[in-house]
């Protein structure tokens, strides 16, 4: 599977893909006019710049997530093993982003770090505001005049009395080293010799994705992974889907009885063969009721195969293809239209006393879309050989050897 950005990030030297023409002269003209207008608005250099900016924004967005992850990990470690024994005022002296990235990313990372420190007081790091610490200051002494940042010249800050009570400064340095983002953290004591009192390196490995932890509820990497697995595995191998199904029938041409749709409420069990849920099998029982017309039941079984990957997705809908069969029994006046014989007026009039019934089996095939094994919608076609000669039911598709009599639509909720 290619990364999400592979389809959206275009290198500047690549051409845009061909515009999809969906047919129709008007559409072609509209696309032509729109293209001409666009070409008139954007010079090639502007288009190049736009694509470059898009590419950079895309990369920065993903880089930002990884950088957040590293900061989360740092804050988690500090919460577990605080760098100070008690609350200590610290200046955030510098956030350095990878070479080639700008102040926008820097501001994002700085804000995230501050958020983490504020929401995790267990770190004992109390950030203080000290604009003079990061500003360029001029200090004249016996050895000459030196220009530099305040945090690099603590004696100048001390002389000016503007260190905000802070005795420590934090430096966060991010760098993109190949496919790995590295965070180097150091804390210095604001003394003339600027001794480094804390140093640590964190990096994303080549094989771990950003965990996207919540800033106010940090977890260890192991806990985050466990949570991820639990989410991935859903509720185990068994699901109990509750389904509302609408079966619509084609009315046979010339029939004086219209084939009515049947609404079933079904409940059952669906089992997957593995946590990947690539293959599932399920069975359910259903009931139907149409006021003053019919009641009925159904027994249905299906086998489904995931067609959008080898395993269910956490972030995208999953689509299954399925085949199955059902046995349906209908009672009441509604069953008369399913029988081969054309009902008489008397049959219909006496249906409440005679309670006619009809049973038939079906074969079905369709597609099911699931959202994280919670909600699903499916569409299928159904063939019922027992309805081939039904007096009121025609077929939607006739393949010669098989007639498809039913279109079905389902909505399911899984428990």
């Amino acid at each position: 599977m290619w990364p999400a950005n592979s389809s959206t990030v275009r290198r500047p030297d690549e051409q845009r893909g061909p515009t999809r023409h969906t047919g129709g002269l008007l559409a072609v003209i509209a696309v032509f006019v729109a293209s001409a207008a666009l070409a008139g608005e954007l010079e090639p250099a502007d288009a190049f710049q736009t694509e470059l900016e898009e590419a950079r924004a895309n990369v920065a967005a993903q880089l930002q997530l990884q950088a957040y992850d590293l900061l989360d990990e740092l804050a988690y470690r500090w919460a577990e093993e605080p760098p100070f024994e008690k609350d200590t005022a610290v200046v955030l002296a510098d956030v350095s982003v990878p070479v080639g990235f700008g102040s926008g990313l820097q501001a994002l990372l700085e804000n995230h770090f501050v958020t983490l420190m504020v929401k995790n007081p267990r770190t004992h790091v109390q950030l203080v505001h000290c604009p003079q610490c990061t500003a360029m200051v001029v200090h004249s002494g016996a050895k000459g005049t030196v220009v530099g940042r305040g945090v690099d010249m603590p004696e100048a800050l001390a002389a000016a009395g503007v260190a905000s009570g802070s005795r420590h400064a934090i430096f966060l340095d991010f760098e993109a080293e190949g496919s790995v983002l590295v965070l180097r953290v150091r804390m210095t004591s604001l003394e003339p010799k600027l001794p480094i009192t804390y140093a640590h390196t964190l990096s994303t490995t080549t094989t771990s994705a950003a965990m996207l932890r919540s800033p106010d509820k940090l977890k260890s990497a192991a806990e985050a992974r466990k949570e991820y697995l639990e989410l991935l595995e859903g509720k185990g191998l068994l699901l109990i889907p509750l389904t509302v199904t609408v079966r619509t029938y084609q009315t046979r041409p010339g029939s004086f009885i219209a084939a009515q749709p049947l609404v079933f409420v079904q409940a059952g069990v669906e089992a997957s063969l593995s946590q990947a849920r690539a293959w599932t099998v399920g069975a359910n029982l259903g009931i139907t009721w149409t006021p003053d017309t019919s009641v009925g039941w159904s027994i249905q079984g299906r086998i489904s195969r995931l067609i959008t990957g080898n395993t269910v997705s956490l972030t995208r809908p999953d689509v299954y293809a399925f085949i199955g069969g059902a046995l349906i029994g209908i009672y009441g006046a509604g069953a008369l239209g399913l029988k081969n014989q054309v009902p008489t007026i008397a049959d219909i009039r006496d249906a409440t006393q005679t309670n006619p019934s009809h049973y038939y089996g079906t074969f079905q095939a369709g597609l099911l879309m699931r959202l994280k094994n919670r909600i699903g919608a499916s569409f299928y076609i159904e063939s019922a050989p027992g309805l081939d000669n039904a007096n009121a039911v025609g077929n939607f598709v006739d393949l010669g050897f098989m007639k498809w009599h039913t279109f079905g639509f389902e909505v399911s909720f899984c428990f």
Binding site: P3, S96, P98, V99, D173, S179, Y228, T311
Partner: protein, 210 residues
């Protein structure tokens, strides 16, 4: 950046191949860092993307996975020499720090600076070395020792193999560095090279590490 997982199917070969070919150019392929893992390990790392191995093994299906990750900054987007230096920064700094550590006695206070044409990259190099030294338990200062402007003007006219030794002596003579203090300098000596060199200034003596 989301990892690219390439399941190598036993019979149907690669279904998503990061190698250059019909679907991508050599330039695009070069921007992937790939590592091959067994299916079991790949499933362990990416359970949502790689199915678990069948309980009874089997001869068909996924056998191993090539886990690829796109470079954060693609080749060509930064200066070529900077990119090489930054890509290998961790490894090269580790080597330099290990060598430097062996040259000075314990309880030495280290000062670090880098000499590189790009100030941004120079800062990255020196920060990496300082942090690595501190992580090894050394006493490290964030302070950068500087010489007087006149010294720098003279040193700038000298060839590198000579200037660093003289600068080291000036550090000591001017008492910028004292006893128990060492200076680790990391630099490139030729504008055309992408190999970092390093030397240590200890007690007024300059010693090249690499």
């Amino acid at each position: 950046m989301r990892p690219v997982l390439v399941a190598l199917l036993a019979l149907t070969a690669c279904n998503k191949d990061p190698a250059a070919g019909f679907l991508q150019t050599k330039e695009q392929a070069r921007n992937y860092d790939c590592t091959r893992f067994s299916q079991e390990e790949a499933h362990e790392r990416h359970p949502g993307l790689v199915p678990e191995p069948p309980a009874r093994g089997g001869n068909f299906g996924v056998k191993d996975a090539l886990i690829c990750r796109r470079r954060l900054v693609e080749w060509g987007e930064r200066n070529g020499r900077d990119e090489v230096i930054l890509t290998e920064l961790k490894g090269s700094v580790d080597d330099i720090v290990r060598l430097a550590h062996s040259t000075a006695p314990e309880k030495t206070t280290w000062y670090v600076d880098a000499f590189y044409p790009s100030p941004q990259v120079s800062q990255k190099i020196s920060v990496a070395a300082r942090v690595r030294l501190a992580e090894r338990g050394q006493s490290v200062s964030d302070h950068v020792p500087v010489l007087a402007a006149g010294d720098i003007a003279v040193l700038a006219r000298m060839p590198p193999w000579k200037s660093y030794g003289i600068a080291c002596r000036r550090y000591f003579d001017e008492r910028v560095l004292g006893a128990g203090e060492a200076f680790l300098g990391i630099m490139i000596l030729d504008d055309r090279e992408s190999q970092l060199h390093a030397g240590v200034c200890l007690s007024g003596e300059w010693r090249w590490l690499q």
